[in-house]
């Protein structure tokens, strides 16, 4: 079995009396896309926030590359190689696509307490940034400010930024949100190509995409993992049908 990159163990989080993450245990291995699905309000985004470090869990542990990172801040986790994309596109709007990616390269390459040399002329940063943009097919738009990119292009840029971090694991929070069918197809192909090199935890609403991409799927309902397995296992699981897929069929 491939190496386990990211492991959540007994995570628990509540807001007031509401238990939104209830004893969640799952792992993501090298070279797999592990999808997390569940009805609205199941606690998927809350879980991603705990893994990336924006929210602290009330109980449980998160291990990344064999190290306990539960107490680390989001920047510290990012520096160890945990990259995330956001449900609502999060880029630096006034920066060009290139500069957005170069900033990610800068985050792991050398010190950012450098004061006198123009960062935009650092060839080492720009070369890697261009490579990341090329990987998502955005290199032709390198000079365009992020604010002027189309929604789909910004979704691509968000992935390019994550790749430019050279991460070990990717947390992708609804990468297809708000994209049209063509853009979605392009992104699915792109994500599929990432599988070999990273451990990917994918939260996605688009079921077609999830079943096309995922090696394993975990189903979250009311904060609990009610099933984990291959796409076929999940399709056949009666509890999942009841909690989740059944809703769609009834509708």
């Amino acid at each position: 079995m491939a190496e386990t990159i990211l492991a959540l163990h007994g995570l628990r989080k509540s807001f007031g009396g509401l238990l939104v993450t209830d004893d969640v245990t799952l792992d993501v291995r090298q070279g797999e896309i592990h999808a997390l699905i569940g009805p609205n309000g199941a606690g998927k985004t809350t879980l991603i926030h705990q893994v990336s470090g924006t929210l602290a869990p009330d109980a449980g542990r998160i291990r990344f590359l064999g190290e306990d990172i539960t107490a680390l801040s989001m920047p510290a986790r990012a520096r160890r190689g945990l990259a995330r994309s956001f449900q609502i596109t999060s880029v630096i709007p006034s920066f060009s696509a290139l500069e957005n990616a170069a900033l990610a390269v800068q985050a792991r390459q050398g010190s950012s307490f450098r004061f006198f040399r123009a960062a935009s002329r650092e060839a080492a940063l720009n070369a890697e940034a261009i490579a990341a943009l090329a990987e998502v097919g955005l290199d032709a738009r390198a000079a365009t400010p992020a604010a002027a990119l189309s929604h789909g292009e910004r979704r691509q840029l968000e992935i390019a930024i994550a790749l430019a971090m050279r991460p070990r694991a990717l947390l992708l929070d609804e990468p297809l949100a708000g994209t049209g069918p063509e853009e979605a197809e392009r992104l699915i192909r792109l994500l599929s190509g990432l599988r070999a090199r990273y451990a990917v935890l994918l939260v996605e609403h688009d079921m077609q995409a999830v079943f096309a991409l995922a090696d394993r799927i975990s189903v979250l309902a009311q904060g609990r993992v009610i099933a984990t397995g291959t796409p076929d296992d999940i399709r056949a699981d009666p509890a999942v049908r009841e909690a989740y897929l059944g809703e769609d069929e009834a509708a």
Binding site: S90, F95, S112, F115, R117
Partner: protein, 307 residues
Amino acid sequence: MSNPRLWLPLLVFAGLAAAPFLGLGQGHSLTLLARGMIFGLAAVSLMLLVGGAGLVSLGHAAMMGMGAYAVVVLDHAGMTEAWMVFPAGILAAALFALLTGAIAIRTSGVHFIMITLAFGQMAFFTTSSLALYGGDDGYTLFNRTEVFGARWLENRLVFHFVCLGLLVACWALVQVLLESRFGRVLRASRENETRARALGFSPYPYRLLAYVIAGAMGGLAGVLLANSAEFVAPAYLAWQRSGDLLFMVILGGLAGPHGALVGALAFVLVEEWLSHAMEHWRLVFGPLLILCVFFLRGGIVGLLRRG
């Protein structure tokens, strides 16, 4: 030369360098221009915070005050040498910025504005109570700072070019800092802090360092202001002065340090002109500023881009 970030400041600097030889050599105009350059320097340093780091400080006058009072304290002790006075003023302001910034930068938005205001007022009331240095009445400097015993700064023309040289240096420094790796992290954190954090940057140390650098430059402006006026009073640290500085930055435009430069000069010159033209000039100056905010969205330099 289509980028006003560069040609506009160079034009302004050339104008300032030529001014003494274009009939503005008479005492009062040069004093006024020196004042404009000193506030320009302070505004450019504040621009690093507001436009660069997104830290809207309402306590920047306190940094100038630290520099100005360093001159006073040393003068009282009989020390007027530039090689002591200038570093002391800069270091005093940098230290004050470090101590207050370490706390203030943990907050953001309106809270940051209020806490910098509070620290500024603390400094204001402290200087007001320093009876040794004139308290509320202020302290008159009988001599300007000396350079190796020579009284060069007493010469208006020399002082004019000292101010201009330091202004150019500070403008260039801010310009270079904003384009560096350090500045890129500052700008990114201002625009989208969550993204910066998700990339692995903790904005705090970058912001604190920017705050200290801006404070140090504010201190330098304070040393110059004390020498220009040959007088220092707690009013230098009043929050209204911080408000003026903030206004200069916004009036000029947040697109770059050139905006702060132009904003400060425009502010000082219009203020001077109006105060001579009429008695109740503030009745006109206030609404004029409000109109500028309404109609000059990108500040004065925003007009250039459209035109």
